[in-house]
Amino acid sequence: MLPEWMQKEDDYHPEKDGSRFALSTIKTIGCAMAQIRVQHGHEKGRTLPPVFKLCLLLILILSVSIARSRILLMACAAMILGYLCTWPAKDILPVVKASSRASLLACLLLLPAMLMRPTLIPNDLFIISKVFLCVSALGIYNHTTQWNHITTALRKLHLPAVFIFTLDLTLKYIVLLGSLINDLLTSVQLRSVGKNQKKYNSIGGVMGITFVRGSEMNQQMYEAMQCRGFTGDYNGL
């Protein structure tokens, strides 16, 4: 026999919770952070050494961005696009997606100038194509090179080890902390039914816990590094 209160039909309509703005913003940021995955790339057996590729990328981006002659720009474009079109479709997609987003932004920024046609500024797709090429080149590099090879390449270019170490850790921690924020917010959401008056308290809580967990992880990693013989010298990295 069920107790009486369970047989009664409830008429409970929770009040609509307005202004979820702050919470949903943090949630979006958390999602975005968690999505930054370290690229694995489609690097196959024999490729160019990463240092060489990095230098090539830098030269390419530099020459595209300072190019004033069309022939130089065309040569870079022919090289980048000619290489890209030999790839399988599913590998082209992320590269082209990123670069078309960037060039769309450039297009929006230049749109007023292109429509109004002031006399001094040529009505021209020069800058947009430069943006497209630079981002594509970066995308190609990113896609063909594993992250640890990129760090090796940076190391060979004699960048200070502390810098590389920080970069490496930052990228890893952004992902970890992003997914942590995401989990916390999901649990807050599941537990709060109806109108939550103390929204800003919970935001403070989420950030606080993230900070505490972050410093805990930090401590743990430092201990783990010490166990493996880390003496505070980054040079052997």
Partner: protein
């Protein structure tokens, strides 16, 4: 046959653009349904054949130049709907990047070259094939392809000539000077049709047959509507042919002179027709909106034209192949969960 910016009134451009919308919708639907996704990257190769063939200018009688379009060829290889899309994309690239054909007149250019040409060409081709009854005889199919492509490009040229020709009738200022294209039907039709009937049509037919024969020999599985031949050969020869066409594209530079109806605003007042120069620049041409293309006329002024031409060919081909490769990615359907 590319109509440049401001030769047609904005109203004409809008009408032609609106006329193309249902065609594109129909073509996209049909292609989604009929063309297997694996064939999409090859459609890119087809589009780049068309792109490259438009770069080979041939000198025409009367000091102008013309070029093949390759529309019937793509229609025979991939079907007329796929050809419509492929040529539209090639035309868009030419308009935006290479300044061949205007952006406002993109709809009109598509109507002529991406709608009239492939559908008419393919229609005639398949009519002749059907009338002859025997499908296996190569001679007949080559003849059908030749006639189809010849008729297709001439019909497209006729449409272009009519679009040019009605401009001075519809749009002129108080002094009677035309606002846009200054030549009426009586000038534009012979000016477009005679060279196309005599030369460009023949070039188009020759181009179509040559490539069709090559494809039939090296990768017969490509031919549209031939479901019996399913085994896939390597398509390396096709890509090799593209590379050869790219390398040979500077031959198009041999033909000097501007195609009829493709003059720049600075050239038009000096054009001689029936012994008279025009003597004025139509207002719409001198004051209209233009977008300066990235690589105007496939070349870089003051630099080696041949290098510019080859680089343009590579960029155009690569962009087309990338675009159609991206189209070949199957669209993921979002799964819906019941609430």
């Amino acid at each position: 046959m590319h109509i440049p910016e401001n030769y047609l009134s904005p109203a004409t451009c809008a009408v032609m653009g609106a006329a193309m919308v249902p065609v594109w919708v129909h073509a996209v639907r049909r292609v989604n349904r009929d063309l297997p996704k694996e064939k999409m990257p090859l459609l890119g190769v087809g589009a780049s054949f068309s792109f490259l063939s438009m770069m080979f200018n041939v000198p025409l009688p009367g000091g102008t130049t013309g070029h093949a379009v390759g529309g019937t060829l793509i229609a025979i290889l991939f079907g007329p709907d796929a050809a419509c899309i492929a040529i539209s994309i090639a035309l868009l690239l030419q308009a935006v990047i290479f300044g061949d054909g205007g952006i406002l007149s993109f709809g009109a250019n598509c109507f002529n070259m991406a709608f009239v040409l492939p559908y008419a060409g393919y229609g005639i081709y398949s009519l002749i094939q059907k009338a002859s009854g025997k499908k296996d005889r190569h001679g007949i199919s080559y003849a059908a392809a030749a006639i189809g492509s010849y008729a297709g490009i001439n019909l497209a040229a006729l449409c272009t000539a009519i679009e040019f020709g009605i401009q001075p009738i519809l749009f002129h200022d108080a002094a009677g000077n035309a606002l846009y294209c200054p030549y009426g039907l009586s000038v534009s039709i012979p000016a477009m049709m005679i060279p196309h009937l005599l030369a460009a049509g023949i070039v188009e037919a020759a181009f179509t047959i040559a490539i069709l024969a090559f494809v039939r020999k090296t990768s017969p599985d490509l031919l549209y509507g031939d479901a019996t031949k399913t085994h896939t050969k390597s398509h390396v020869p096709l890509f090799a042919l593209t590379a050869i066409l790219i390398a040979a594209s500077p031959l198009g530079l041999l033909a000097q002179g501007t195609a009829w109806g493709e003059w720049g605003a600075d050239e038009i007042s000096a054009i001689v027709t029936n012994g008279k120069t025009l003597g004025y620049t139509p207002q719409g041409l001198s004051k209209g909106w233009t977008l300066q293309a990235l690589l105007p006329d496939y070349a870089v002024s003051g630099f080696n034209e041949i290098i510019g031409y080859i680089l343009s060919a590579i960029i155009g081909t690569a962009l087309l192949i990338i675009f159609f490769k991206l189209l070949s990615i199957p669209v993921k359907k979002k799964e819906k969960y019941a609430a």
